[in-house]
């Protein structure tokens, strides 16, 4: 019946079968694009691993933002109030989409991409996949496992999976195992990565940046500083003028930006939409006034808190936005919790008659009106590395105070024209650097990582409006629970393996 069986063979026309995916150069390119798609775009149109997941879970658990209850979606509210439970969606989303992304990296890495004739390209692609795998593991482990610094990685980690074996059960392993794999992947990636610098893909600067972060977590400030300096050497910080217009594009200092384009994006699932409530879809995340007031009056980053009307008004005309909006300075839209419209504006916002809109607040008078919430998310940028250099210099066993002050000044003087070089030393200098990092990277998903690796308790300001205003560094609810769906079907992870606080 072999001829019959041919007759019964049909392949889908708009899909490619997994066994031939990596057989041609064209489909390998598509598979590589797929890796980035998995990080940025919502697979089922309900969640994006980086634009939503890691960016916000590392802000709401910390002290610089607040999350509203019941406005649009409550995804982060339970994590914000340290009231997470196994019934929440956030943990499963992060877990599932992370492993989905890791599996796709494993497919590329294990295949070896032998169908590619160009050896450099082949190595470069595999290096990209390894760096992405390292990046996802680095973020994933921070949500479900205790920081490396606590016990040198002896705590339970997350399953370490480097082969693509669908359906297989894997045990949790240790944090150290994950960090070892991260180091191995990054080191191999650094050796093989191509020299072409593409901000929308893994590049040499980004791998150096990841290694700097890796060594920060381990508390090895010398090595962290050296990799951070290496990264800044490849991509330097942007200008003040560029910073003014927010980060939703692809900043010149970007080391990795995840883009979204209209055709690939489901509306209202971008990082930008979470900051912007123009259509009632955002409103989830705001900044308590205590933190906003840390910005000096002449700090250009303070202008990110202008009222949404001003940002809406000038969004289509970026060139004019700054000067014109300044006239309305400090028209803050809420007395104690501030929307931050300017830092992550919607790129596609359009409004044919913004004056009428500002005047009436009713967009139904405006004929052309809309946005699907487009805006890129920059995962890593040079300013972070500059501040890492400053921090490491200050924290070294024999501190390089002048260097720390000098590197800190690069950021401070960009934000405030004519800012003086800091004269602080010792802990005061370190504190000043850490505060500058909070201000510079506010909303980008960094704050909690620093709190975790530095083993700090969290004290939130009064206007965050939550009864949970103090969180001990040992609070078990800092971690999210291992998802029930995993425990139910994974034969090697049982209820006993659940994080403390959720058993």
């Amino acid at each position: 019946m072999s001829c019959n069986d041919d007759f019964l063979d049909h392949n889908p026309s708009d899909e490619v079968s997994s066994d031939v995916l990596l057989d041609t150069e064209g489909s390998i390119e598509a598979a590589m694009n797929g890796l980035y798609y998995n990080l940025s775009n919502p697979k089922d149109y309900d969640f994006s691993l980086y634009q939503m997941g890691f960016a916000f879970v590392n802000e709401v658990r910390a002290d610089d933002v607040m999350s509203n209850d019941g406005v649009w979606n409550n995804l982060f509210y339970e994590a914000y109030t340290y009231n997470s439970s196994k019934a929440d969606n956030l943990g499963p989303y992060i877990w599932n989409y992370s492993y989905f992304a890791i599996d796709q990296c494993n497919v590329i890495i294990n295949d070896g991409l032998l169908a590619l004739d160009d050896e450099d390209k082949r190595k470069d692609y595999i290096a990209q996949a390894k760096a992405i795998r390292a990046m996802v593991y680095w973020d994933l482990v921070s949500v479900f496992a205790r920081p490396y610094i606590v016990d040198n990685g002896a705590s339970p980690g997350v399953p370490l999976i480097t082969l693509s074996e669908h359906g297989k059960s894997n045990a949790r392993g240790t944090v150290k195992a994950i960090y070892d794999q991260i180091f191995k992947d990054l080191t191999e990636a650094l050796a093989d990565i191509g020299s072409e610098s593409d901000k929308l893909r893994v590049n040499e600067a980004m791998i150096n940046g990841m290694l700097a972060r890796y060594y920060l977590d381990l508390g090895d400030y010398a090595k962290a500083m050296s990799f951070a300096e290496e990264a800044v050497g490849i991509v330097g910080p942007m200008s003040a003028n560029e910073l003014r217009y927010g980060l939703s594009g692809t900043p010149s200092e970007s080391m990795l930006t995840l883009v979204n384009t209209e055709n690939a994006w489901a509306p209202y699932r971008t990082h930008a939409t979470y900051w912007d409530d123009y259509d009632g879809m955002g409103r989830d995340i705001r900044i308590p006034i205590e933190f906003a007031e840390q910005f000096a009056y002449d700090d250009i980053r303070r202008d990110f808190f202008w009222s949404q009307y001003n940002w809406k008004k000038w969004a289509p005309y970026y060139a004019d936005a700054y000067e014109s909006a300044q006239q309305d300075n400090f028209n803050w839209s809420w007395p104690d919790r501030l929307y931050m419209y300017g830092k992550f504006p919607r790129l596609d916002f359009k409004c044919s008659d913004i004056e009428a809109y500002v005047r009436t607040g009713d967009h139904s008078y405006v004929s052309e009106w809309g946005s699907v919430g487009l805006g890129n998310y920059t995962y890593m940028r040079s300013s972070e590395m500059v501040l890492v250099v400053a921090e490491c210099a200050a924290r070294l066993a024999s501190p390089q105070t002048a260097k720390a002050q000098e590197w800190l000044h690069k950021i401070q003087s960009r934000a405030i024209e004519g800012a003086p070089v800091s004269s602080n030393t010792g802990q005061a200098l370190i504190d000043e650097i850490m505060l500058e990092k909070r201000k510079e990277l506010l909303g980008e998903g960094h704050r909690m990582r620093d709190i975790l690796r530095l083993r700090q308790d969290i004290q939130r300001p009064a206007s965050t409006w939550t009864s949970k205003d103090f969180i001990s560094k040992d609070d078990p609810k800092i971690l999210l629970p291992i998802p029930d769906t995993e425990i139910k079907v994974n034969e090697l992870i049982n209820e006993e393996d659940q994080n403390p606080g959720y058993k």
């Binding site: 019959n4 007759f7 889908p12 708009d14 899909e15 490619v16 997994s18 775009n41 690939a264």
Partner: protein, 1139 residues
Amino acid sequence: MKKNLKPIGVWDSYTLKKTGRIMRCILIFLFASTLNLIAADSFSQKAKISLTGKSASLESVMGEIEKQSEYVFLFSKEVIDINAPIEISAKDQNVEEVLDKIFQSGNIEYRIIENKIILSTKSESRFTQQDNKVTVTGKVTDNKGEPIPGVNVFEKANMVNGVITGIDGSYTITLANPEAVLSFSFIGFIGQDINVAGRSSINITLSEEFQQVDEVLVVAYGTAKKESFTGSAELVQSEVLEQTSSNMVANALVGRVAGVQVANSTAEAGTTAKIRIRGNGSFTASSEPLYVVDGVAGAPVPDNNDIENLTILKDAAAASLYGSRAANGVIIITTKKGKGDVSFNVKYTNTTSWKSPDNFDMMGTDDYMAKTWEGLYNRSHYIDGNTKEDAIQYAHDKLIEVTGSNPYAQKDESGNYLPLEQPFDDNGVLNPNAKLMYETDWLDEAYRVATTHNFHVSANKGSEKSNLYTSLSYYDQDGIVIENNYKRLSGIINCDVKVNDFFEYGFNTNMKYSEGRDYNSDLLKHAYQFNPTITIHELDENYQPKVDGKGNPVFNWKNPIYNDYNIHGQLYYNEDGYESTSMYGAPYIKLTPFDGLTVSGRASARFRAGNKFWFNFPDHAGGVPKNGLSNKNSWEDKLYTGLALATYSKSFQSHSIEVKAAYEVEEFESTEMSATAKGYPLWETSTELSSGEEPDEVTSGTIEDSRIGYLFSMDYGFSDRYYVSGSFRRDGSSRFGPDNRWGNFWSVGATWRLTEEAFMENVAFVDNLKLRASYGVNGNDGIGNYKYHTTYGLSNTYNDRVAATFNRFGNEQLGWESNENLTIAVEFGMFNRLRGTVEYYDRISSDLLLSKSYPRSSGVSTRYENVGELQNTGFELALDFDAVYQGLVKWRTGLTLTHNVNEITKLAEGNYWDGQIYRAEGLSMYNLRMKDWAGVDRETGAPLWYRDVVDSEGNPTGERETTDNWDLGSYYDKGDTSPLLFGAWNNEVSFKNFDFSFQVYYSIGGQAYNDLKGVVNHDGAQPSKNLASDAKNSWSETNKDASFPMYVYNDPSKAWYRSSRFLEDLDYVKLKTLTLGYNFSRDVVEKIKLKGARIYVMGENLLTLTNFSGYDPELDLNGTPGYGVPPATSVSFGVNVTF
């Protein structure tokens, strides 16, 4: 403006004329081919008869002649001695030659009329008339006025004096005595004795016997006699199809066959009912039966008027030969064939439909406004804790903002109406001087009285050598909701030609064109929600609808519910529609190499193509963000099938055997392309894709599947008493993994006709008693394509470059869903009047496709596996009774009754929620699980739900308590949407030329979750939305026993969330159809050169008895009304003329 926007289809006034011409051309073509075929008929050879020289009875000789030719003998047993010995031998002789030999001696003479050989005694009297004898002439007709040729007419006292009627039904008999009694008899009709009483002309009407002798069923790959069939199959005659105004087959089957549930839940134009044969047998795959038309699965279902009959195969023995697709039963449709002389039939039915009366009553403006005022007051006073004075002020201030509009005015001194700022007083009572200036009944605006036209023209002609049937139908239905319509133009040509005893060929063709506009479910959704103060059009200062400069209505786009949405404006400006064309042809050849063996081959090809389109205008609603959006979608598909079938049947002594073997192959391919463009500033001129400013989205796709099947069956009968059958089919389908691609399906069945046994001979009142049982396995491949492949999708992009993204974790082992089906049945007949069938069945559906979870850490989530199991167990009863069968009035009545229990017996991984449906082993697929409503707290007016009391370890103690927090309420299983019993009482009555039939459908023991009740009883949670009148009975200080909680503006209580508050019993009895017809007698119609004429009036859904408070208790299988169009009440007038 409006005129420009209408899609230009073939139905506007210009093209309709053109269509008329096209229709005429097709008709002329069809009739020309008919005449051609009729001419060809005269060349066909007559059958040659061969008989062996042995001595035999007349009966057996006649049987042999019938077998070798297409002739049938008609005679009266009173006159002809069928046991008379005959000695004859013949070889390849004409029928006439053989008959001449047989009847050359003796007193029997014969006449051949068409394919009937009519025997009578030689009437000497015709040749030897005597003076005192009287001659009586007359005509014998049937109930419909058709003449009956071949009727035996003889003198009762002198049986040898007899004649038979001629082809026009007329007779002439000479009698010795003018007071003689004449006896009229004819097979299949009830005989009559008439006293001549001196008359010289006696016309009589013979009534058909109700009992159908040797009912022949069209079954899988052949035919079978009902009496010997081992499977469960029900024949439905075409008369049943005439008792619905729908032209969808499924809609006509309501209540006709026990074990068949027809969910005819919507009057939406162009939709068909859902059919479940013996319950639902799958979670994720199709549960619809397989349709087979003239032997081809997948052939287009013809117009109802072209259907001769249907057979519904219910059990394994009947259906297993269809193998992989038989799990949900099979509906075999046989289309009409030409018969008799050339005749033409024209039929026209005009149906008027409207929304059925219901128990669903919405508030008018006064009640709604008063309730809203009360809600504002309650909110401020009871919830926010303000004083009564503040609460009253709050209600006054906020009322109009909530309702969205103030429809009240008051006359000023000069008699002008001026808006009344505060229409309600401090007690919430309407100011007596307030005049209501406008009010919208949104439901009324959504519904309309709609007309359906149904034309059908057919021509046919047939003989034993060839036959041809051709028809053309035009069906034009307007839905009972605005803008919903469906039109269909279709035709078929069926032809069979028997060249000689060895070779036969023919073909079936079907052509169809349809177009329409689907119902937009926002229409009724908004109709239930929009409050009566909101107007459809903007009003001028005199409260009259505004009209723009071009005379078009100005729609009102401001409302407090869905701002910028107005479904009436959207339907007016937006476009939405579809059209499709289908061509089908199926030629066959049939060879008969020797007696008993036939070999046939049939091929078929079906081509379909269609377009869908929609346009959202840019000014308001969904088209705004993209400044107008236009979509065009075009699709086409092709289906090819081939069948080679050999059948051998042989009878010897007491044995009869039939063996079938076949090979079948099928291939299907479909492609679809869809494109959307955006930016339509010039939308009033053009909405073509090329008129948009830029493309929005373009997609295309192709789907292919194929099947191969080998089948074998054997039927054996012994002594007309014992029958056994077996079937086996091996099927391969492209839908399954390479390792599980081939499946085996089989059945065994047995029948025992007790009435043929000697011990039953003395039980005279029992005409028929038959036991049968069957068991077998069949499959279901309706799971969609490509499910076993692990694939990456290519439809996503990253940074505008194509990205391969993991799509599906395939399962190479994926295989059939299979059904094991056991049936035990008793068929009986008593007193020649009562016939019935009782069946028990047990249907176990296993290997059902369900998602099984895998560790997410391995990079995947779920995949389909063959794991689930469902069981349907039930009883079926069908009774048929000739209540009145003699005389002028005939009344035949029947009852169908079905009891089915559905149970989930195995799931992939325990319990889960599938949307609102809770699935667990031991529960029905139609289980209703929800929070349990405990009424209203008498003191606070708060809603209450039950919850389980739990002990310190969280285990339920079995006690229940109440809570006013919906979230804390426990879930309980509150019933099942599938009824315990359902069926119908069917009746046919005839009196002279009148016929009258009606059906009463009943359904007992089901529950419904009336979600619409929840929408319109929101208790203030959605204060701008309208309310049902029931909401008047809400809690207040003076109405503490109210059944509804306190009405509160922006009510936070969740009282309107899903709970048993809106759960209702779904028992109902419905007068489903009622038809009254009149057949003009032959005498009348012949005068105007017609062969027959009938007029009739028919009503559907005329009366419903139920306590269900929804719009209609005939719901979809999920027992939830939703925003669909309910069944309509309709009245049809029809005329049917044959010439």
